[in-house]
């Protein structure tokens, strides 16, 4: 095992350093790109924190939904194939629930301030 401070702590420090120490020294295009960099580090930190649990849950749901095992990429590709073949659709029991949970997990990492995510968290979060 790795010792602390762990990657999420280090990433948090990098984002804070970029915002509080570097950004005030810059203007124009470079300031914009440093802001993008800080946002990217934040996203990576959220992925490190959240993805292990949400990936495992997504894989368990897909295994049940598809009746097959495999890694996440294989299972998602299989789901896509069956949707394209019209073997699975919005009426398939469990599909909408699965996709809502998967979307909430994706957006919690990618864009936690996005309007639809915040609305969906209220509407879908407790199902």
């Amino acid at each position: 095992m790795q010792d602390p401070p762990h990657s999420e702590d280090l990433l948090e420090q990098v984002a804070a350093f970029l915002r509080t120490e570097v950004l005030p020294q810059l203007s124009g295009a470079l300031a914009f790109h440093v802001r993008v960099a800080a946002n990217a580090v934040d996203l990576a930190r959220r992925e490190v924190q959240l993805a292990p649990a949400s990936d495992a849950a997504e894989r368990a749901r897909l295994t049940a939904l598809l009746g097959m095992d495999g890694d996440l990429a294989t299972l998602n590709a299989a789901l896509c194939d069956r949707i394209r073949a019209r073997e699975i659709d919005l009426a398939t029991p469990g599909l909408v629930d699965h996709l809502r949970r998967s979307m909430l997990a994706k957006l919690a990492v990618d864009q936690p301030n996005y309007s639809t995510f915040r609305r969906a968290l209220e509407a879908w979060g407790d199902e």
């Binding site: 790109h33 993008v36 960099a37 946002n39 990217a40 996203l43 990429a73 998602n76 590709a77 789901l79 896509c80 949707i83 394209r84 019209r86 659709d89 919005l90 909408v96 996709l99 809502r100 998967s102 979307m103 994706k106 957006l107 990618d110 864009q111 996005y114 309007s115 639809t116 995510f117 609305r119 969906a120 509407a123």
Partner: protein
């Protein structure tokens, strides 16, 4: 000589063609631009102008009408009363400045978040959903014989193109697959092609405290189903957080449709507009995903592009909401 000095000298030689009586070219500055297209601002004496150009040797995107044709479209739009900057000069090869045109610099705001939040626009905001409908009806009413050659892209062509671009990203996205199937099952009936602006949304209009002053960005103009424009302006990506005001964050669909119907006399079928909103959301999501997987060695700003790729999920959650509930 620098690019800037070359351009300034070139514009100085054309000053009298741009502004009656000519004058001194001042304040030339680049506003935006990538490898293929640039926007510059400058003044001739006290009058402000905008130059849009593709530098010499730049290759236009295969789907673009081209800058000369954009200039024709803006003039045609102005003739039917669509707010449009006056085009002053279309560049010719002998000018040596690349391809493009010079237009009046229209005063107002284009930044969507300012338009949706600033007090200066509080009085005009409630009028804009209807105004956008009226303006779209004007664009769709332009006689086809007035138009330059444009690609024709109906619903099936657009969907096939987006579905292929999705496959090319090589990332399996079940929600996108569901959207493609849903769109194939909800194809609108064919209708006679009209001029479609293709990118008329919050961010591509100049607006002041009173009204929409100019429609910009005709790069995606084509012939197709006019309902495409009505669906595109409602895509959640262009509401900038105002989830419950579908028309660009400004107001309800009913007002967009009422403005459209009042000018065009054509009844709007909300289900057909919804088709185009779903297609628009899918299209934007696939574009974000494609930007991230594009050849990074060929483009600049790889981190920015990578982060745009992580915004594809915004469109996915919008699509899931569109396909499973009222949104």
């Amino acid at each position: 000589m620098s690019d800037l000095a070359d351009l300034e000298a070139g514009l100085a030689a054309l000053a009298a063609e741009i502004r009656p009586g000519g004058g001194a070219v001042r304040n030339l500055r680049r506003l935006s631009g990538g490898a293929s297209q640039e926007t510059w601002a400058f003044d001739i004496d006290a009058d402000p102008y905008i130059l849009r150009r593709a530098p010499k040797g730049a290759r236009p995107h295969e789907n673009n009408p081209g800058l000369e044709n954009e200039a024709i479209l803006m003039q045609a739009a102005a003739e039917v009363g669509v707010p449009s900057p006056r085009v002053r000069l279309v560049l010719r090869p002998e000018h040596g400045l690349g391809r493009g045109f010079v237009m009046d610099h229209v005063q107002g705001e284009t930044i969507a978040r300012k338009l949706l939040r600033d007090e200066a626009f509080a009085a005009v905001r409630p009028k804009l959903a209807r105004r956008i409908g009226e303006i779209m009806a004007g664009i769709h009413g332009i006689p086809l014989e007035r138009l330059p050659p444009l690609r024709h892209a109906d619903a099936r062509t657009r969907l096939d193109d987006i579905a292929q671009r999705y496959v090319d990203t090589k990332v399996p996205r079940p929600v996108c697959e569901l959207a493609i199937v849903w769109l194939r099952d909800h194809m609108p009936p064919p209708r006679p092609p009209r001029l479609v602006h293709g990118d008329l949304r919050n961010g591509n209009m100049i607006i002041d405290s009173r009204d929409i002053q100019a429609v910009l960005d005709w790069e995606l103009a084509h012939l197709g189903d006019p309902m495409e424009d009505l669906g595109w302006v409602c895509v959640n990506s262009w509401r900038f957080g105002e989830l419950d005001k579908p028309v660009g964050g400004f107001g309800p669909r009913e007002e967009l449709f009422a403005g459209y119907e009042a000018v065009s006399g054509v009844a709007v079928d909300a289900a057909q507009v919804r088709f185009w909103e779903v297609l628009g959301s899918l299209s934007w999501g696939v574009s974000c995903a494609a930007i991230a997987v594009a050849d990074h060695t060929a483009g600049d700003r790889p981190l920015e592009r990578a982060m745009i790729g992580r915004r594809a999920s915004e469109c996915e959650i919008d699509l899931l909401r569109l396909l499973t509930e009222e949104a």
